[in-house]
């Protein structure tokens, strides 16, 4: 399949991804344990597992102490690198002809970049073997083929971004507004009401800088831009984008001015500094886990072009030249067993990649059930507009995000003229796209050549 074909397939399949999540959340069923190979196996030795997920210390420790303990080998779990850093490492290892890593757990877009450099091995036989005794989400399995007829990664976990609200905020909700289906204008009105009622700005966004900083870049790319312009990239400097930034100015006026210091919104939510926050589900989960009666997960707001939202797909792959291939395959087998998937869900706050592992009901990991319900509402909204994380940019993904974050800093924090900033930043963005030669990805219309900003 060509690059264009891959993107068409992604465009068609992306909305189905989280529909499966919705299905997971909709019907409580008994625990999805068992089913996988459970006979005692010989020790497979030391397995180096490099993951861009589970970076917070408690999640990394949870992976080591709760998820990986029953594996029949010794796993060296390392989640210290970002996705972009992992792409650089795998590319460098591949060029050097020697890998020190056995398994990588990374985002779909990063795995595309690793495979573009020829850095991943063909996992088709492993996929066929695993597919016999567990039910993978077929959409995610297709993702893992990266547009070819071979399987380059095995789906591991998936997630999205949403809002969590403190129930104290509901009294200030504008009359007649459904918290599960509101527009950005209604969110702004809600923020104004809360400010009038409490004297404080109670909406929060994650704008802390740095590698362990907030994910406001995803809010702008995957939520605001699609909701107002219908795409992530092509309408970057359009008239609709200017309107979007004008709405963002109004939203920022009722957003806590300490948002420039928030990296994970679960913290200010729990301290009571903010009552309404948008973030990645794994960065909100503690609020729902620790105070399920106080907090509620709700879908992101809707804009003029729809409810733009991002889905995050994380896969497991084996780099070329991995020192312990047998151990790597055994680890992927272990991580995709229903029991392990459920434990992982509880630890990292993502959703499982297996369709028969439920995340709602009495035995669901705390917090995840509430998020699954909100995710299902987000996906099933009539105006849902699913967006992908940047595809194929690999190590340049962060610089791609920089154009959005710089626009935010200049327009919102420094109050510069919107159109001039967008024209300026569009030049950097276009130059990056030209260098990486990537076509547009959903929800932008699929392009034949390099994605072009209009």
């Amino acid at each position: 399949m060509t690059r264009k074909g891959l993107l068409v397939a992604q465009a068609a399949l992306v909305s189905a991804v989280l529909l499966v999540v919705g299905a997971c959340g909709g019907t409580p069923t008994p625990s999805g344990g068992g089913g996988a190979t459970s006979s005692p196996q010989a020790d497979v030795g030391n397995v180096e597992f490099l993951s861009s997920q589970a970076q917070p210390v408690n999640e990394a420790e949870g992976m080591r102490r709760q998820v990986l303990t029953a594996f029949n080998g010794k796993v060296d779990f390392n989640s210290s690198l970002t996705g972009a850093q992992m792409v650089s490492k795998i590319q460098a290892d591949h060029q050097a002809g020697k890998s020190t890593i056995d398994v990588v757990g990374d985002l779909h877009g990063d795995l595309v970049a690793m495979q573009n450099a020829g850095g991943l091995t063909d996992l088709t036989p492993l996929m066929q073997r695993l597919g016999k005794d567990r039910k993978f989400n077929s959409t995610l399995v297709n993702y893992g083929k990266l547009g070819t007829d071979k399987q380059y990664y095995i789906p591991w976990i998936q997630a999205t971004y949403m809002m969590v609200v403190n129930k104290k905020a509901l009294q200030y909700l504008p009359k007649g507004v459904d918290v599960n289906n509101m527009t950005y204008d209604q969110l702004i009105q809600w923020g104004e009401n809360m400010q009038k009622g409490t004297g404080e700005k109670k909406i929060g966004l994650p704008d802390a800088p740095g590698t362990r900083g907030g994910l406001i870049n995803r809010f702008i790319q995957g939520y605001l831009y699609p909701s107002y312009t219908g795409g992530e990239v092509t309408g970057f400097k359009s008239k609709e984008a200017v309107e979007m930034w004008s709405s963002m100015r109004r939203l920022w006026a009722v957003t806590s001015a300490q948002s420039t210091n928030y990296s994970m919104m679960q913290d200010p939510l729990q301290s009571g500094e903010v009552w309404v926050a948008w973030d990645h589900q794994a960065r909100l989960i503690d609020a729902l886990k620790n105070s399920p009666d106080q907090f509620q997960a709700v879908p992101a707001p809707v804009g003029p072009k729809g409810l733009g939202f991002m889905s995050v797909v994380v896969g497991l792959a084996i780099p070329q030249g991995a020192p312990n291939v047998k151990g790597a395959e055994a680890l992927i087998d272990y991580l995709t067993k229903p029991d392990t998937q459920k434990k992982t869900t509880g630890v990292v706050g993502f959703f499982p990649a297996l369709t028969n592992v439920t995340v709602t009901g009495g035995d669901a990991p705390p917090g995840v059930g509430a998020e699954a319900v909100a995710a299902a509402k987000q996906v099933s909204n009539k105006k849902a507009l699913p967006a992908l994380l940047p595809v194929g940019l690999g190590a340049k993904d962060s610089e791609f995000s920089l154009a959005y974050v710089d626009s935010f800093t200049r327009i919102i924090l420094h109050n510069e003229d919107t159109q001039s900033v967008l024209n300026d930043e569009a030049k950097s963005l276009q130059s990056l796209l030209n260098t990486a030669k990537v076509p547009c990805w959903p929800p932008d219309p699929v392009s034949t050549g390099t994605c072009q900003i209009k």
Partner: protein
């Protein structure tokens, strides 16, 4: 005897420093260029980060040095319980930058200790946004307080060692001649402390140019500084060239400040030869 230390310094400090210097003047293909400096000057937050770094420096250094001087003199005095002061003042030495930043974050954040106390005392009705991005003076003040608290004991220890090196006979002679405590400090101790102050100021200024974790923890993106920009370009955006260029900027500024201190606080050789 010096070989292990020399090898260690060469491999882990000198070689990476030279590499970083070279990277700042190279393209990704390794050819010579000055384009990285051009990119840095055009970077969105370059001027702000330079300005903020200099503002922090201008506030931290005089405040910290003056207080540390007072603390060192007090710890060397004949007051009862001075050793207790010394131990308490040394506590921040053991606290990491980031931990210090987080401690002060819990004090200054809008639902932190300071606002809680002020509200409990009915002095304010709503929390004050000490760390609000649009309240730059209070953000700077919070960072200065945290930085001074974190590193003042280091400056105090350096100054104390300098005071201990001053022969006590000089002070005693001045006392016999009728000099007051203030005059003994101003006319005897301070002039003889000049070389020590020079060392303390140079070390502290270099460290202030590299201020990083405290700013990141307390101010986030509200207060960009040079070291945070350098780290961000390397670790977050994988642009080693621009990261190294920011590092070179810090190196140039640190070197310039050292030259200024060496000139301003030059001690004539004859002072020691008398």
């Amino acid at each position: 005897m010096l070989a292990p230390a020399a090898i260690f310094m060469t491999v882990f400090f000198a070689w990476p420093a030279v590499q970083a210097l070279l990277i700042a003047f190279q393209t990704t293909q390794g050819t010579f260029t000055l384009a990285n400096f051009q990119s840095m000057f055009h970077d969105t937050d370059f001027l702000r980060s330079l300005g903020n770094t200099l503002i922090l420096l201008a506030l931290i250094i005089p405040i910290e040095t003056s207080i540390a001087l007072g603390m060192a003199v007090l710890a060397q005095s004949r007051l009862r319980g001075r050793s207790v002061f010394l131990y308490i003042w040394s506590i921040p030495l053991a606290v990491s930058d980031l931990a210090a930043g987080l401690v002060w974050l819990s004090v200054f954040t809008s639902h932190g200790y300071l606002n809680s106390i002020l509200q409990d005392l009915h002095l304010i009705q709503h929390p004050i946004g000490f760390l609000d991005y649009n309240n730059l003076s209070s953000v700077v003040a919070a960072v200065v307080i945290a930085e001074v608290w974190r590193s003042i004991s280091l400056v105090m220890v350096i100054i104390m060692s300098g005071i201990q090196a001053i022969p006590s006979e000089l002070g005693e002679a001045a006392e016999i001649l009728g000099a007051s405590a203030w005059h003994r400090f101003w006319r005897v101790t301070l002039p003889l402390l000049k070389p020590t102050l020079q060392v303390a100021l140079i070390l502290r200024t270099i460290a202030a140019f590299q201020v990083f974790a405290v700013v990141l923890a307390l101010a986030g993106s509200a207060l960009p500084v040079l070291a945070v920009k350098s780290e961000s370009w390397v670790a977050e955006y994988r642009n080693f060239q621009l990261g190294a260029t920011y590092a070179v900027m810090i190196l140039v500024l640190s070197s310039l400040s050292t030259v200024v201190y060496l000139g301003l606080l030059r001690t004539p050789r004859e002072v020691f030869q008398r």
